[in-house]
Each structure stands twice: as C-alpha cells, then as structure tokens.
C-alpha cells in the first residue's frame, strides 16, 4: 500500500511551474494575432466574410479579440495579413483595448485605469466567486486549472470561494443565458463592496456565437463596471493569471 503511493509520488516528481512570469506556450497555441496591411486586401475580405463571429473589420483593418474564438481560419485564408502568435497576455481593462490593429504590438494594460482600491485591498489576497452563465465547461475547467498542481495560483493568495459572501469579486463565463441572468444578479448582489468584475472568455465578452440568440440576456454587462476583459475560447489559465496579476498590481506588462 505505501509502496504504491511512493511509486505514484516518484513518477509525479516536481510538477509546479516555479515562475509564472516565465512561461512560454507551444508555438501551436493561438494567442494575440498580428495584422499586416498589404496592397491587395482581398484575402482579408474573404477571411472577414468567413469569420463566424464577425470579429474582423476590413476598413480600417482590425480584429476584435472580444469576439474572436481563435479558430485560426482567418490566418489560413489571409496568411500575409493575419498571423496568430503564442502571446497569451491578452487580458486588459477595457473592452476597446481588445481590438487589435496593424499597429498593435502587444495588448496594453493601463494600471492607471484600474480602480485605486483594487491593488490597495486585494494585492495580497483575492477571493473570487465564479459564475458560469452558459459557459461550455471548457472555460470552467481552465479556471479550475489555475489552482491545480501545475499553475498553483493559490501561492499568491488568489483563490475561488464557494460563497459570494466570502468573495471580493465575480468571474463570469459564458454568453449569459436568459435562464442564468437572475441567479447572476442575485449572486453579484451578495458580494460585499468593494467588488470586482471579471469577464472571462470571448463568449462572455461579446456573446460569441450566441450574440444574436434570443436565449441570451446581457443586461448585466450593460449595467455593471467591468474591471477585466479576458478573451479566449476558452481563456488559457496563463491569460487569466497574467491579467489578474496586472490588475492587483503584482506585475506590470
């Protein structure tokens, strides 16, 4: 019995990432895109037409990460104009900053736009309540993964709580279904002030594939201040970790 445990432990070895500021994802990973203007923009027009969420604009040329599902099909249609890099640092404070243009070399994070009380109160301990409002489970699993043995985000005092009353903010995933809009309101009301709101995943940022669906109710987003917008389908744990560290002032992009 003890022998079998030692065997598991031995094979398991050392799994945690020592420095979360020094992580590079595989080249295959589709993160922040880079856009290039060429004389002939017909490929971009074809890609914009194909884009399932209308994330690409042609005049002027831009790509909205809040809509993008990172399927990468546009880069295959317009390889001279669109290239996905493996840069996962794509979370930021405003919805507008998610729009990538040919000038974008990184997604900027402006600490001065963060409410002053956030780094002051939460830099050493941040407890979050997650609400899945029609998230497709992949994004919920990625948020769970931030606390797992590899990422161990808990080392910075950042964790998810069971009760909204014990939390400092809410992390919302999914396009927000009508049937979840009221439970979300109730949960948010139960969080003590001051509280932060994090919108996690492209579907949460814009509604994604369901932005026109009648089964969606996005009044929450219109009524509340959002502190952090995180694109992704699903949002990679490193995107979440990087953006939250920036939000609480532990890191500067």
């Amino acid at each position: 019995m003890i022998y079998s445990k030692i065997k598991v432990l031995h094979s398991h070895g050392w799994q945690y990432i020592p420095d979360l500021n020094d992580v590079t994802l595989t080249e295959e990973f589709r993160g922040r895109p880079e856009l290039t203007v060429t004389d002939d923009m017909s490929d971009v027009e074809a890609a914009a037409k194909l884009c399932p969420t209308g994330a690409i604009s042609t005049a002027p040329f831009s790509l909205d990460l809040g809509r993008c599902l990172f399927c990468g099909e546009c880069a295959l249609r317009a390889p001279r104009n669109i290239r996905f890099t493996n840069d996962y640092k794509i979370g930021t404070t405003s919805r507008e900053a998610l729009v990538v243009t040919p000038e974008t070399k990184q997604i900027d994070f402006h600490p001065e736009l963060v409410r002053k009380e956030i780094p002051k109160l939460f830099s050493r301990s941040l407890k979050l309540r997650q609400v899945s409002a029609a998230g497709d489970a992949s994004i919920e699993m990625e948020l769970n993964a931030t606390g797992n043995v590899n990422f161990d985000f808990g080392r910075y005092g950042i964790e998810f709580t069971a009760s909204p009353r014990h939390s400092d903010g809410v992390v919302i995933t999914g396009p927000i279904s009508k049937n979840m809009s009221e439970p979300l309101d109730i949960c948010y009301a139960a969080i003590p002030e001051p509280k932060i709101t994090i919108i996690c995943g492209s579907e949460a940022c814009s509604g994604g594939l369901f932005s026109e669906s009648k089964a969606i109710d996005r009044h929450f987003i219109e009524q509340h201040h959002v502190d952090l917008w995180l694109p992704g389908a699903p949002t990679h744990p490193m995107t979440f970790i990087d953006a939250v560290m920036n939000l609480i002032g532990k890191k500067q992009r």
Binding site: P52, C71, D136, N144
Partner: protein, 505 residues
Amino acid sequence: MNYYITNNTATQAVAIKDIPEVDYAALYDDLKERLKQEQYHVAHYFATPDENRLMFYIVLLDDKEHQIMLARFAMEYYDDIALPSLTALHPAMHPYEREIAELYNVKFGSMPWDKPLRFSENRRNRNSTIDNYPFYTIEGESLHEVNVGPIHAGIIEPGAFRFICDGEKVLHLEIALGYQHRGVETEFTSTDNRLRQTLLAESIAGDSAIAHTSAFAATIERLTDTAVSDSLATERIVALELERMAMHIADTGALSMDVGYQLGQVACEALRTMTINTTQAWCGNRFGKGLIRPCGTNKPLTKEKIDMILANVEQIGRRYAEVSDDIKSSPTLLSRFEHCGIVPRSEMLRIGGVGMAARASGLVRDIRSSHPWGKYATETKHESISQHDGDVMSRLMMRCDEVQQSVARIKSLLEGYTPETSSARPDYECALKSEHLSFGLIEGWRGEICHVALTNSEGKISTYKVKEPSLHNWLALALAVRGEGISDFPICNKSFNLSYCGHDL
C-alpha cells in the same frame, strides 16, 4: 412496421421521401414491443414543423444487427388530440417526449413525468419559467428538503438540485436543468456559414468538443457525399481517444479530491495537463477546438507530432496505471467508493442509460462496438469494457481501464503510421443535398452522441438536432443517490460528471 434501414458506415444521407411515413398507432405498437428487447434503443426522437404539419422523426438503433432504423409520422400542427405516451411503458423515452411537449404543446396521454425539459427560449408555454420548476414533494414530519444550485460551490456549470432527505439519508433527488440554454439548435439553422456551424458543434459541450464536432463532420460529409480519407479517419479516432483519456483522468482526479485523497488528485491533475497539452501541441487548443473540421483538416499529423503523441501517451498510460493500482490497494478509498451510488443494470436499462455509466452497470451500450464507424469499423473490432456493480467504484474502474484501452488504441493506430503528404483541407462551401436526413453517431467519452440534420428544398439545414448522452444519464444520477447519505452526493455526481450545457443546448 416498415423502417428505412441504414448503418453507421453509410456514406450517404437518406432522402426524406424514402423514410416511411407511418401512423403513430403503428409506431406506438411497434416500439411498445421492440423496446422490451435490450438490443433496441432510441437514439433520437424529435418533432419539427413541416409546412402546416408537425413531422416526427425517430432514429432507432438495433445493437445486435448493427442497424440504424428510421421512421416518421405526422400530425396536424394544431391537432388537439393526445398521443399515448411511450414513456409510460418505457421511461427511457422521457426526455424526447418532454422536449416535444415543451416545444410544440403536443400532449402525451398518461405521461408519468410531464415536466418541462430545459425551458428553452422557443418553448410554447411562456408562463412556465425556470424559477417555478414544479419540483416533486413528499409530505412527512421527519422529512426536509435541501436545495443546491443553480450556482454550485465549485467552478462548474449551473443546475438546480432538490433533495428530499430523511435525516442524512436521501429519499429523492430531482434535477432541474435549463440554466445553460443558449439556443444551439436554433443557431445551427439561422446561419449558412458552415464554419460557424462547426464552431457551434465545438461549443455544444466544451469537454466533448472533439466528439461533438466529429458527429457534426459525419453529418455534413453524408450530406455532401464526401469520402473520408484513411489518414483523416485515423487522426479523428486518435483525437477522440485523447479526449476520452483527458476527461477520464480529470474525473479520477476529481473523485480523489472529494474523498481527500490528495496524492491521486495532484497526480491526475498533472496527467490531465499532460494529455491536454498533447492535444494543444497538435492543434493549438487544449480541448481540441480547431482540430475536427468537415471534409478535411487544417491540422494534419506530422512525423514529429506523431512521435510526440506516442511518447506522451506511453508515459501517461504508465503513470496513470500507478495511480489506479494505488486506488485499488487503498482500503480507505475503497470504503468510500464501493457500494456507493449503485444503479443496477435493470434500472440502467429501464431509464435508457448510455455510455461509460451504463457499461459500469453491466449494460454494454457502446457505439464503437455496436455501430462502428471509421477506423472502428475497418481496423480490429472494438471490445467494450464493462463492470458489474454500477457503483462509484465501477464507474471509476471504467475510467482506469478505458484510459489504458485508449492508450493501446492510439499506439496501434499511430505506430508505423505514415501521414499522407497532402491531406484534404476542410470544405465550408460544398452544397448539401436537398430534402435529406443525415446523422452523426459517435461514442464520446460520456457515451452516445447523435446529431441529426434535415435539409430543405434549397439544400439548407432546416432542422438540426443534438443528443448528448447526458440527456439520458442525468436520471441515472438522481437514482444513484437514493438511499445514500447526502454527504456522498459529491462523489456520486463526479462519478458521472454529466454535461449541463450539452443537455440544455
């Protein structure tokens, strides 16, 4: 009664006019008898408007003869007659009849569980809302109710659970779903952009993205007469088995966590990371989004990627086997997992349980062996794994054994495999055959996934129906906790790990 007979290796969709149109009375009489036999079960049964009529389609599976049987019947759209309920005889039919009743106000006479299924946006009765779900109640001085949800304690999807308890013991659990309803099926028909439809399939249930997109791809390929190349067939099975491994390992970790077995939890977390990172290194996404596409692939395997996958699955299989061995040799774990949350085989059969959970109860429902497709049909026959006891331990052992089977499958497919130099690219433009019915039938990690598409006279998808295995298995969870202490609910729940969004659509 007359059915149109096809099977899962068919490469062509079925012309709707070739599907026999029967009387409901004849279908009812036929199914009444047929469903008493274990070899038959219904993979899909739905209604859809057809001019001024409501057309009902049924997809019946014959596991023994490996056949897919199709039939349809019609009723006038505003007919007020009640159809005799099949659920009254065969409870397995309940989600189908409940959906039809919810969407079209069709009445089923003597339906024993006449409740809304998912409070979909296009339901007929607008007064029926999710916050007034008619929960079953029992009166009694010693009884109390426990409400859990819709928001749960952990980071998981929402659903409302209502327990009726006698002290610590659960007498009854009812699960109200629909909170995740996004209108997936409607979205499929409101666009002609096939890439958009593909991404919709990927988001039906994010933990089964590969399985659902495989079902969508099969549906489209049958409607476009596209032959799947040998290498594409191989790569799809490798992807599907990687998804199975990742989720089975994740659930082993979750079960470990819930009984305080931290060693198993962290070991499985690391092994799941390794599995999904293998998928990510192949296609750029940890859940395989972007990997499966209709009529081709953007991510053909290369020599380097094949070597990477083989090396990783070898190591994952070995290390996961050590965790399985440790679980089996730890009395403290066995005392929690064994004889807990039992669903006997007879119950599983009655409620129409499918997939891994059904096999844990000894009911072998496995599309890979009963209705093989692609490489399962052409390579060596798939031998389904099953257990007997139907308890949490059986469902855990299913995972332990199926992970090793997936490792072996991936190895046998990839060892000595030479990728094609140029494989077909996805096709989002090719025309669909008009007035046809097409289907995709896949065994995902949870169980049987069945997609059905109907096209109209212009060759557009007019109806798209999705069946997630969770549609059947949620009832199995409700039955599993009866008589158990309420504190055992978490491990019972994790042992099934059912999909909310896949059910709610």
